[in-house]
């Protein structure tokens, strides 16, 4: 074989472009480090934060100093402490909401894609209705109707993002369920549930991972935007969106009070976008098998 040497034997024609793959690793490494930083700060927030985030001091709208690394806000609270503790709230809401949306999306997408026919039609049309509403309008309506509490916010965001994830799950399921190994498994008596969970789901996981990461980025943005509009967790609990809203009036006096939460939002959103791009390149979503 190898003596002929016309073609490199060990280079399968379907392998993803190596440059994209390498870029993918870099992006994932970068995103991973960013995520780690975020998780550490979030997890150990109360130990890291130098002050009580709700503690008022007479030293209001102070600039950068040794005592207050990122200055203080309009009633003298330490911006860094509020940023760290506020991140906990924002990320907590995001994580729970996306987990719920992912679970619902998986169940609905798998059900719809695997069953097909009338079930598929009903599920997808119902999701289309949700999909048709602009994200913010729907979120504002629900939160305004039910009250701005954290559970309501989580539920709303989960509902809003479920259709997107369900669609991403359903698409590849439609094709993978027709693959031979699924029929072969069915021919030896594997149950429907097991077929879906162990013979279909693992093959459609790549696009789901990428979409979940993108949804995390979007959700952080949505949570902070809703908080900015006053539909987030009620004060005095700090959160990034709320901090922006409060600091808005003093932007010229103390630019740091706006820049700091804005930077945090950008950092968190960027983390998941970088991860999503990395995953997409590495898993070569779109060109499987």
């Amino acid at each position: 074989m190898s003596e002929i040497g016309l073609l490199p034997v060990d280079a399968p024609a379907t392998a993803p472009r190596p440059t994209a793959r390498r870029a993918g690793y870099w992006l994932i490494a970068t995103g991973g480090v960013m995520l780690a930083v975020m998780l550490i700060v979030t997890a150990f927030g109360p130990f890291i934060a130098p002050y009580n985030p709700a503690a008022i001091s007479p030293d209001s709208l102070a600039g950068i100093s040794a005592q207050h690394w990122l200055g203080t806000d309009s009633i003298g609270r330490d911006v860094l402490s509020r940023l760290i503790i506020g991140g906990r709230t924002t990320l907590f809401i995001t994580a729970i909401a996306v987990s719920l949306a992912l679970m619902a999306g998986l169940v609905l997408g798998l059900l719809s894609g695997y069953m097909g026919g009338i079930v598929d039609q009903m599920v997808m049309r119902a999701l289309d209705v949700v999909f048709a509403f602009p994200v913010f309008l729907l979120a504002i309506a629900v939160v305004a109707a039910l009250g701005p509490t954290i559970p309501n916010l989580i539920l709303t965001i989960a509902i809003v993002y479920t259709p997107i994830l369900a669609r991403v799950v359903r698409g590849p399921v439609l094709s993978v369920k027709r693959w031979d190994h699924v029929e072969a498994a069915r021919s030896v008596g594997v149950s429907e549930v097991r077929l879906v969970v162990s013979h279909i789901l693992p093959l459609v996981i790549s696009p789901i991972l990428v979409e979940t990461s993108l949804t995390l980025a979007n959700t952080i943005f949505t949570v902070t935007a809703l908080s900015f509009l006053g539909l987030g967790p009620p004060p005095p609990d700090p959160n990034w969106g709320g901090m922006l809203a409060e600091a808005r009036q003093f932007m010229e006096l103390a630019p740091l009070t706006v820049i700091a939460p804005a930077a945090a939002i950008v950092f968190a959103t960027l983390t998941f976008i970088v991860l999503a791009n990395g995953l997409r390149d590495m898993l070569d979503v779109g060109g499987q098998r």
């Binding site: 695997y114 369920k177 162990s198």
Partner: protein, 270 residues
């Protein structure tokens, strides 16, 4: 005469597509005795594969197939069984080997996991017992060094080896009937012979009945006692292998036999 293992009468299948019905099987009837090897030959699209799937009630997912007729297996009509009872029969009493070994294994599960999964489904073995059985089966179907290969993924196996694995899965619960749907079509000729020999050996050992579906008279001739010739969703001729080869009664059978290139006949003339 004892009751046959499998008694198919008036089996019909039609595809329903956008309100139109397209017939695939027009009332097929045949029997398979316990331990017997029966061949099915016919051209592409004559309904061989649909028939195999109809017997196991494996409708292609998403397409609407309407089945009719009766499939009596060991005295029970499979068409009348609930899906759950049918699942118990699939794999344990009737098993199937598919045409394309390259795509018939789950690419993200190890060989061992796929096999153990299925064995545990039908036997209630513990994970350890199932693994031991998997090793035994792999050895049985001629996978060298099963200890080392059991945790490999399908892509690390060649086509012939994958077909061996699929056969191992099919016979793992010692079914009474094995349906082999073009089991060698996707393989090299040399590997074909090995796989056919393996099927023969396993059939004799376990006393399984075998339904061998192929378009290749050569494959059929060496393996079975009785042949059914299929055309357009019907069985047009049935008989012992020697009889069909020596004196084909149906014009289509003659045409099929004539279509096989004959090395010996050519050679003698030259």
């Amino acid at each position: 005469m004892t009751e046959p293992l499998l008694d198919v009468t008036g089996l019909t299948a039609e595809f329903v597509h956008r309100g139109e019905t397209i017939p695939a099987l027009n009332g097929i009837g045949f029997t398979v005795a316990a331990g017997e090897a029966v061949g099915f030959v016919g051209e592409s699209g004559c309904g061989k594969s649909v028939m195999a799937r109809a017997i196991m009630r494996l409708a292609p997912e998403g397409s609407s197939v309407r089945l009719g007729g009766a499939v009596r297996f060991q005295g029970t009509d499979l068409m009348a069984l609930s899906e759950a009872r049918m699942r118990d029969i699939r794999g344990s009493r009737i098993a199937m080997v598919f045409q394309d070994p390259m795509t018939s294994l789950n690419p993200v599960m190890t060989i061992g996991a796929q096999m153990a999964d299925m064995i545990r489904r039908h036997t209630g073995f513990s994970a350890r017992q199932a693994r031991a059985r998997v090793l035994e089966l792999l050895d049985d179907v001629g996978i060298r060094d099963p200890q080392r290969r059991i945790d490999d993924h399908p892509h690390q196996f060649s086509g012939g080896m994958r077909q061996r694995v699929l056969i191992a899965i099919a016979v793992s619960c010692e079914p009474d009937l094995l349906i082999a749907d073009e089991p060698t079509t996707a393989l090299d000729v040399t590997v074909q012979a090995q796989i056919l020999r393996l099927l023969m050996r396993l059939r004799e050992r376990h006393g399984m009945a075998l339904m061998l579906i192929s378009h290749d008279f050569g494959v059929i001739a060496g393996m079975v006692e009785r042949v059914n010739v299929m055309l357009g969703g019907e069985i047009v001729e049935t008989g012992a292998v020697e009889q069909i080869f020596a004196a084909p009664a149906h014009a289509y059978t003659r045409a099929l036999l004539d279509a096989v290139p004959r090395l010996d006949a050519e050679g003698r003339q030259a």
